[in-house]
């Protein structure tokens, strides 16, 4: 069984970068796949990789990470303007961030419009989630 944990943006909005990254990583280390509303800041994404590496052990093998984000090139001027205002008022809550434990998630393939998440085979039958 694969467990997904949804993290709404308001749950991480008020947190410092370190607390935000640690909160997400804590969920992943419980063998759950995080689906977070919005995205981390660029620096926080790098911090997430760095902290993940610090935590690697024989039990925790790391993470798979993917961000799906609206393709701004496909938005018209009004949509882009709305996005700018929404980001300024509410934070960067556009898009989705998916983080899963590498022991469960084999790979996440994303193109701008969809994410495909492949889980590791636990038996002879291939297990694929979409």
């Amino acid at each position: 069984m694969v467990t997904f944990k949804f993290v709404p943006y308001h749950e991480v909005d008020g947190l410092s970068s370190a607390k935000r990254v640690n909160k997400l990583l804590k969920i992943v280390k419980e063998d759950k796949i995080v689906i977070m509303e919005g995205r981390l800041r660029r620096q926080e994404e790098a911090d997430l990789i760095e902290i993940t590496m610090e935590e690697i052990s024989p039990k925790f093998k790391g993470i798979e990470l993917s961000v799906i984000y609206p393709d701004k090139d496909k938005q018209d001027a009004m949509q882009r303007l709305k996005g700018v205002f929404a980001d300024a008022l509410l934070g960067d809550r556009q898009g989705l961030t998916i983080i899963g434990p590498a022991s469960i998630v084999k790979k996440i393939e994303s193109n701008p419009d969809q994410i495909e998440l492949f889980t590791k085979e636990r038996s002879k039958k291939a297990s694929r989630r979409r």
Binding site: R42, A46, I49, E50, M53, P58, K61, G62, I63, S110
Partner: protein, 161 residues
């Protein structure tokens, strides 16, 4: 600077070469310090090294060194004047690691040149790399056969301007 291996994470520590000198076709010289960093990854599993033939203790040691190498690579991003990001042109360029690292360099206003390596292989898709990072200059190279190295040097000159 680093050697090639069929086992991942062959480069596990930062290697620095000072006073590297290259010359372009017009005889112009460029001198710089080269910092070769380990590849960045979000996961490292010592069992993968065992599958490649390493013993358990050796595999665990390699995994530990590899994790430290990734941490060091990320820390070094802050200290670079320019960065050459080497991508494997046979793989999907949209990996989140690529996007995160290049995004971080962009946020720090660090000039970036992307070297799409392994263009000697049929599977290489340089157009996909160009489509993924249209804002950057991309040079297809084959480090193994020295293919397109002249063009790579030319772009290094442009990057260092």
């Amino acid at each position: 600077m680093s050697s090639v291996s069929h086992i991942a994470h062959e480069t596990r520590e930062i290697k620095i070469k000072e006073q590297v000198n290259i010359k372009n076709k017009r005889g112009k010289e460029l001198t710089f310090s080269l910092v070769d960093t380990p590849g960045i990854s979000t996961k490292i599993d010592y069992e993968d090294f065992i599958k490649k033939g390493l013993k358990k203790t050796e595999a665990k040691k390699r995994a530990k060194e590899a994790t430290k190498g990734v941490i060091d690579s990320i820390k070094w991003l802050d200290d670079m004047d320019s960065v050459v990001v080497v991508l494997d042109a046979t793989k999907d360029p949209y990996s989140q690691v690529n996007i995160t690292i290049i995004g971080n360099l962009q946020a720090r206003n660090i000039p970036v040149l992307i070297a799409a390596n392994k263009v000697d292989l049929k599977k290489a898709n340089i157009e996909a790399v160009k489509a993924a990072f249209p804002q950057y200059k991309i040079v297809g190279i084959s480090a193994k056969y020295g293919k397109n190295v002249e063009e790579f040097y030319e772009q290094l000159f442009a990057l260092a301007k």
